[in-house]
Chain length 479, copies 2
Amino acid sequence: MANADKKFVEQITPMDQDFARWYTDIVKKADLIDYSSVKGCMIIRPYGYAIWENIQKILDARFKETGHENVYMPMFIPEGLLNKEKDHVQGFAPEVAWVTMGGSEQLSERLCVRPTSETLFCEHYANIIRSYRDLPKLYNQWCSVVRWEKTTRPFLRSREFLWQEGHTMHATAEDAQEETLRMLNIYADFFEKDLGMPVIRGRKTEKEKFAGAEATYTVEALMHDGKALQGGTSHYFGNGFAKAFGIQYLDRDNQLKYCYQTSWGVSTRIIGGIIMTHGDDSGLVLPPSVAPIQVVIIPVQMHKEGVLEAAEALRARLAKFCRVKLDDSENSPGWKFSEYEMKGVPLRLEIGPRDIENGQCVLVRRDNREKIFVKQDELETVIPETMEALTRALYDKALENRERRTYEAHDLDTLKEIAATKSGYIKAMWCGDLACEEKLKEEADVSSRCIPFGQAPIGDRCVCCGKPADKLVFWGKAY
Amino acid sequence: MANADKKFVEQITPMDQDFARWYTDIVKKADLIDYSSVKGCMIIRPYGYAIWENIQKILDARFKETGHENVYMPMFIPEGLLNKEKDHVQGFAPEVAWVTMGGSEQLSERLCVRPTSETLFCEHYANIIRSYRDLPKLYNQWCSVVRWEKTTRPFLRSREFLWQEGHTMHATAEDAQEETLRMLNIYADFFEKDLGMPVIRGRKTEKEKFAGAEATYTVEALMHDGKALQGGTSHYFGNGFAKAFGIQYLDRDNQLKYCYQTSWGVSTRIIGGIIMTHGDDSGLVLPPSVAPIQVVIIPVQMHKEGVLEAAEALRARLAKFCRVKLDDSENSPGWKFSEYEMKGVPLRLEIGPRDIENGQCVLVRRDNREKIFVKQDELETVIPETMEALTRALYDKALENRERRTYEAHDLDTLKEIAATKSGYIKAMWCGDLACEEKLKEEADVSSRCIPFGQAPIGDRCVCCGKPADKLVFWGKAY
């Protein structure tokens, strides 16, 4: 009977052979997503959605700790409202989905499905902000947004995706700038400490900034294959939208003043980033903070007397401090090992007759497959410690990958050669001219990823035109 | 300085004078919603959204306890997919919003914004269900849906609303029927025990059932004004959709069989139901289970020595076991009392110099304004007890209202007269004919609310046609 008709844990494409196929294999085989007849959109399956729920739980708590409140705005934006801020509409109009009919009636004004909600928040803020006492307003929204992408990939680029978008209003430019960086740092900490993903914090160039923003800040992560992923962004708007939407407050000095604004967001892309940072040829590797199952218990020789009972007793104990699953199905231990490796479960706990005799069990780490024999009465301390160590190890490994893949270029030819033969970040000085940025894109197929904080210039001439340059920029190819 | 420029807590329209205006006043004045230029949609403001988050937290935990998993499906449904089940599309097509353009391109196939997701779930289930081992599949989704309503009211009928939709697949009709009722009972318990809203559990008539379902079950609540509100529904589909979508599994006996299906949902309507069941002329009255603030602490003579410190110490203590807020703003206690009554905060805790001397404080219930002097060291027991008592009192009061407003009719003239002069449920026997149901709608303007479980017939003749009848039906006007 056993596993004859149970699906065999299939091999996935090795990552060094074809990284894109390796990625697609994982999202399917780890049961993260499925496709449907809705082109360019994905179904997020229970295992994938549980990762997102854990991401939400952590971030939502941090947003609330820092005074933010959740709201829900309509998913539609009337065309006239979207048009109110010129740079913004130019950036987004080409990629929105338009609702033109309601029931059998043609709408008198088209509605776009929100690609982002600045315009809706601004209209609302204009309604509810009167006095300096109403400021700051710190709102956030968890929702889905739509951008009509031509080519799509699960989690990374999808016509619909889930995200959170914070939108805040402040009395002064300083307050808004401080908020912009506060939220960027919350993202950076989340990536580094919770997800074990080192990020570079920096500012986007004018070309790469958000449509309508004065400044866009980003946390950039480097994937295993050397391509960059924008992990999260935080935008400072000045009072541009406030002027377009008439968002004013009466200050202490009895003057009407415009508000200053921020917005910031992360999305289900994060899940793609986790896969491509930590995954290996056996499948997904999840950081414990967001893993739907942190520890899987696999009984060995489970039909021997006392094994299942001992395994269940351990499960009940572990459930008090971690997300644990006992797999007591009839599949073989070997099949189970592969299955939970594919699913990236951080820790596997094996228990068999011999272990029971010795009052111990075997703990196996997903990342390096290290086996630890643990006294059963020490699990309460060993498991949390091992999870922390695992997250740190993920971070170190990803950092090592990034450092190994970070190059420097001082002239265009070198930059082009690196771009053509290596994959990773290229550090190079830039004069600040759009023309140079565009030339690098055209000739080397790299984009500016960010102008990192804590600038440590590596020269004083632009890598492209040779003119004086004071900006160090990380260039690269990106998802 | 004080409150001169702080908004005055305005009076709302008394409910007996104009219930509809009273309702609209509350949703605005309690800061639950705001309007925008998106016609027929609402902005759910932080205080309103926090109620929804609490509803989600409670229900999501119960869904997970009963083995359900969350997923996320695309928000669009291609027209061809929607058309696959005939009854279903006939029910929904007239009220959907259609996306016809992506960016600047006309789509080759229109996409509707999901009004409900049976079709998407079915397509997915057809992909992933192979064997009896895959069953049951118990999925749920939290999302927003769109129905192009002509007339809208906040929470009650809105073009977009938030909900959860459970969609499950089972091996047998019995399993699916059991699930349908299990979820109906989870809803009923939530309404009665958590929200203090008595409901009638029953079955919908053929006319009122969900488009494509074999049977729809409902929990019906009666509002303060005597109109009914459908609180939640649970549908049994048989294997109709499974046949349309080819959802089959290989059973133990090696036969391919069709799956049996359910779906069930509740929405942000619940918030409208809470308002109209418990609210009064001072504003909202929230059951503690979902109240964003369960206890508000209001210091009296707060600039006297030690008052603010004592209030803050209480806040810190209460924060360990309930959602508490200390309002130490410069507004007067009287203003604060009105403000938190408007917002429906279940308990108000007052503390002043005299109370501190006596080691006590004053606890005031929002529902009946009962004042209790409580020893400070008993708050840990008194507050949870008082919250429970408050929920029970809300339930009793709502039940009393329902009983007072439940009438019986044995002939058409009586029914018409009751419908014309009273507001509430009318119990009457029905033969089961659609014609009679339609006649009651036309002549008395009442619809069948449900055929309650635990039938206790009050006669044996149809109230409309006088023919033999064995079904007791609750009739009424509904939101």
